[in-house]
């Protein structure tokens, strides 16, 4: 049977199932196949904090959304065109996000009375007409998988578990994905158990063949490759990009890296990834607690390494006193905060941008640090390099604010040439610097205001540093009032002295009267909303802050050019507060704290209102 092939420019697919159904893996594989094809991609995993919530329940639903297109895209997509629902819970939890007419592929084997009751369905939605507005494809995913594997030497349980590969095969057929990389992946993943390699490949092919033969799927789709800059690409999540950025900082600075970390969601993957890269002289210490983790990093920096600690908001709260010590000691240190919904334990697997206040102000005394926020998964790589540049050049702690959205989300990344990455080499103090041949550990570089980095082991520069206030230049303990005032102001000036690039404004026609200002992971949805508005002839300017401390020097001038400034944030207005205070501009805040990224559509609606009313 020859099937009709229809061209699409973009598709959003959401794989949803029980947290044990392997939806993250399925989504990852589909993404990888899609990347091979050259589509632009953006992904959004969404999973519960519980490792295995009770099977078949709403809290146990895990999903993975992938958006792919033949053009450059900025977000994982607002609404799925296709939902793969492995059970009634997955259908119920995701149905509200589907636009009318969307395709729903359901695993009918799981739609038993018991499973339906578990999630509060009194009637089977596949039969009661409630899904009439959608294109429902009932498929016995489990039973067909088990039948397809009947001749193979695998247990019934293992056969059932391969149903995600059946679903992947079906979707791969529907969207004409190349599957060689998935076959290779399965061979690698199950290398120790050849029977599982055979079972998973058989399930995948059964799904593919089912698509090709069944009449229920009459149309096959194609999404052509996107026009992307030439070069080598890989798909990368924010957390992986952060870890690779840390390795890059080691390679480009020549300094060994010591990562001190304590396991915490959603930052643990950075520790996992870096623990694999010892050959680069990257040492990882899984410390006894968050405080020890940053202590280890700071101790390593004192010894001349680049100390890094990775955590999430609760960890940063615990690290505050040590960050303050690092401010006083004036040593390089990178603190990676993968933000999650708070307060307290909050929603560990859900995203939020509510640690900005803590990063900027969350320490005792006047304790300014540099703060930087990546805007997308691949940008995490460059943000770490920038954090390393600032930490090493200015001898200061730098807080990097990622979040759960870009940490787990992924996008294609044009791999950089190593030689094009910034040179981060540093010089240690080797000679006394004082007028009388003495060593002055707090004598500053006039331009950067950085003090010398004199590491233990350097003869003649033996000196003591500590958290007590230090006298200017000598670093001796000082309680002198004028000296304290000078040191407080100097530490602030040192942060303000950090060179950061001017903020750029995207305003293609140059006639916008409204500026939307964002920071961090909201870049994608804001950008997508602005594009959509411009396509409809609505002028809007977009600017995005990477550096939150210090802020770009031209920011005030840029803000004053616009009649209205809108700041969307996944918090209750933390950047807006700072901008109002610093620039005396009555910005308009748009704030959502739902644990989910903004949708482009909601921002588009909101921004359109603002533009109309200028």
């Amino acid at each position: 049977m020859t099937k009709q092939v229809r061209q699409l420019d973009r598709v959003v697919i959401r794989f949803a199932g029980d947290s044990g159904d392997g939806m993250q893996l399925t989504g990852d594989r589909f993404t990888s196949e899609t990347a091979q094809l050259g589509n632009d991609i953006s992904t959004l995993p969404n999973f519960p904090a519980e490792i295995r919530a009770p099977a078949g329940t709403l809290p146990g639903v895990s999903s993975f959304q992938v958006h792919f297109a033949d053009f450059d895209i900025l977000t994982p997509g607002d609404a799925p065109n296709v939902l793969v629902a492995m059970n009634p819970a997955a259908l119920k939890a995701n149905l509200r996000d589907l636009p009318g007419g969307a395709d729903i592929i359901v695993n009918t084997d799981e739609f038993t009375t018991r499973n339906l009751t578990k999630v509060g369905y009194t009637a089977n939605p596949l039969e009661d007409g409630s899904l009439d507005g959608y294109a429902v494809h009932p498929v016995g995913l489990t039973s067909m998988t088990v039948r397809a594997l009947a001749d193979l030497d695998v247990s019934k349980k293992d056969a059932e578990r391969a149903k995600n590969m059946f679903a992947l095969g079906l979707l791969s057929w529907m969207y004409s994905r190349p599957y060689e990389s998935t076959i290779t992946f399965l061979e690698r993943k199950f290398a120790a158990r050849p029977e599982l390699v055979a079972a998973n490949i058989a399930a995948f092919k059964a799904g593919w063949n089912f698509g090709e033969t069944t009449e229920d799927f009459a149309v096959r789709y194609e999404v052509k490759p996107a026009k992307m800059s030439p070069g080598n690409y890989r798909n990368v999540t924010g957390n992986t990009a952060l870890a690779l950025g840390v390795v890059a900082a080691r390679v480009r600075s020549g300094r060994p890296v010591v990562l001190g970390a304590y396991p915490i969601t959603p930052a643990s993957d950075i520790l996992h990834e870096l623990s694999k890269h010892k050959r680069f002289d990257v040492t990882t210490v899984q410390a006894e607690d968050e405080i020890a983790a940053i202590g280890v990093a700071l101790g390593a920096s004192y010894g001349g390494a680049l100390g890094v600690t990775s955590t999430s908001g609760p960890g940063v709260a615990l690290k505050g006193e040590t960050i303050s010590l690092a401010v006083a000691l004036e040593l390089p240190l990178i603190i990676i905060d993968v933000q999650r919904a708070g307060p307290s334990t909050g929603m560990p697997t859900k995203t939020e941008q509510a640690d900005l206040n803590m990063a900027l102000f969350g320490r005792h005394g006047e304790a300014p640090v540099a703060v930087i926020a990546p805007k997308s998964p691949s940008d995490c790589f460059y943000a770490v390099l920038d954090a390393a540049r600032i930490a090493l050049t200015y001898r200061t702690p730098v807080i990097l604010l990622s979040d759960g959205y870009i940490a787990n989300g992924s996008e294609p990344w044009l791999l950089p040439e190593i030689a094009d990455l910034p040179d981060l080499s540093v010089e240690f103090a080797t000679e006394p610097n004082g007028p009388a041949g003495e060593f002055l550990p707090y004598l500053r570089d006039p331009k950067t205001l950085a003090r010398p980095w004199a590491i233990p082991g350097t003869p003649g520069l033996e000196h003591r540093i500590g958290g007590l206030e230090k006298a200017d230049k000598t670093g001796d303990i000082s309680y002198d009032p004028a000296n304290h005032d000078l040191m407080v102001r100097t530490r602030a000036a040192r942060i303000e002295a950090i060179e950061v690039p001017d903020i750029e404004v995207e305003d293609p026609d140059g006639d916008a009267r409204v500026l939307v200002l964002g920071w961090g992971s909201t870049y994608g949805p804001i950008g997508a909303a602005c594009r959509a508005l411009r396509q409809r002839g609505c002028a809007i300017a977009q600017a995005h802050l990477r550096h939150l401390s210090p802020m770009p020097r031209n920011l005030g001038e840029v803000l004053k050019r616009y009649d209205k400034v809108v700041i969307p944030e996944m918090n209750l207005g933390q950047l807006a507060h700072v901008i109002r205070a610093r620039h005396l501009i009555d910005v308009i805040g748009y704030n959502q704290v739902r644990g989910l990224p903004f949708t482009a559509a909601e921002l588009e609606t909101m921004l359109e209102e603002v533009v109309k009313n200028v």
């Binding site: 091979q36 992307m228 030439p230 080598n232 690779l244 002289d281 405080i291 202590g295």
Partner: protein, 344 residues
């Protein structure tokens, strides 16, 4: 741990230019002097010695040593020192802490440094009181202690620092006294030769807030009957004429003190600091009564156990030794590993 090199240093070389600011009569002076005059024995150049402290009176110590030093934050010195030691195996790293710093706010870091067996020499100055904050009870103060924060007596049970360290399976555990320079230095000497964490509790007199806390161990009238000097390989006897001895009564878990004259010589315990099972040293640590009678000093335990930082470095070195190309090339290969694709 550093190898020794042939250099000639004196006590004076280890005195910094900073004015020492402990209260006159504080036991810390004696410890500082003992450490400064011991340091030349190490044979390690000053620049490769680092003192890291937390917060408290004792933690001012690094300012007075003409080595590298860091006066850090309350309780965190072992963590910071771990980061330094793990990345700089060429350094000799010393931690100076107190009973509040190490056992209260920093208790977690202390036990984890000890269980990991990081190459650190940890000097815990125990004066059984909070001095810098002017006289509150500490985690080693006795029950019933009247202090500013316990006007009708402390209700906290104290830690026994030696028992705690042994519970964490510290590989080197010793106790000494501020006023006994010879003994203190003998313990420092043993510690300096140890691989891994060396934990030394130093009884230190706070003459302002807890004066005389250890007098029974120092006064000629009492010390012979109160103090047990542990010597490796020797029977544990004490008293002016060795009239007391330590035995392991059959059937019991603990140790007890008996009259030597009434004890079969074969039953007198011969001290062996190298016993692998920490239970023996733990039993020794439980000998003292509440009034400090039967307080052992000296080396409780000294066993060989791999040091954490050495193991970590070995993993890194092993991974590095397998490299067949430069770091740039290796990193380019890492970036390009996994599923990649090319756009022409």
């Amino acid at each position: 741990m550093s190898e020794s090199v042939s250099i000639k240093l004196t006590t004076k070389d280890f005195k910094s230019d900073q004015e020492v600011r402990w209260c006159p009569g504080c036991g810390d002076y004696a410890i500082l002097a003992a450490v400064q005059s011991f340091m030349p024995e190490l044979g390690i150049p000053r620049e490769r010695i680092v003192f890291i402290s937390g917060i408290g009176c004792s933690s001012r110590f690094p300012y007075y040593m003409n080595t590298y030093g860091m006066h850090s934050i309350h309780g965190r010195a072992p963590a910071i020192a771990t980061g330094l030691s793990v990345s700089r195996p060429d350094l000799s790293v010393w931690v100076v802490t107190g009973d509040g710093d190490a056992l209260s706010i920093g208790g977690n870091h202390l036990i984890h440094a000890l269980r990991r067996n990081v190459n650190l020499k940890i000097l815990l100055f125990n004066n059984k009181i909070y001095g810098l904050t002017k006289g509150q009870y500490s985690p080693t103060s006795e029950v019933g202690k009247i202090t500013k924060s316990t006007p009708v007596g402390s209700t906290d049970s104290p830690f026994n620092p030696i028992s705690l360290a042994l519970g964490a399976e510290a590989s080197f555990v010793a106790r000494t006294i501020d006023s006994d320079r010879k003994h203190l230095q003998s313990v420092l000497r043993a510690a300096s030769q140890h691989q891994g964490s060396a934990f030394i509790e130093i009884y230190q007199n706070c003459n302002i807030f807890n004066d005389g806390a250890f007098d029974v161990l120092k006064e000629p009238a009492t010390r012979d009957d109160f103090l047990i000097r542990l010597e490796h390989g020797k029977p544990i006897t004490f008293g002016a004429d060795g009239e007391w001895c330590v035995v392991h009564p059959p059937g019991g878990f603990g140790l007890s003190v008996e009259r030597t004259a009434e004890t079969d010589q074969a039953h007198v315990l011969v001290h062996d600091a190298t016993v692998a099972d920490p239970a023996y040293a733990f039993a020794l640590s439980r000998l003292p009564d509440l009034d400090l009678r039967h307080t052992p000093i000296g080396l409780f335990r000294s066993v060989d156990r791999p040091a954490y930082d050495n193991l970590v470095r070995e993993q890194v070195t092993a991974a590095q030794s397998k490299l067949t190309r430069g770091l740039d090339e290796e990193f380019a290969a890492l970036l390009g590993s996994g599923d990649t694709w090319t756009i022409l």
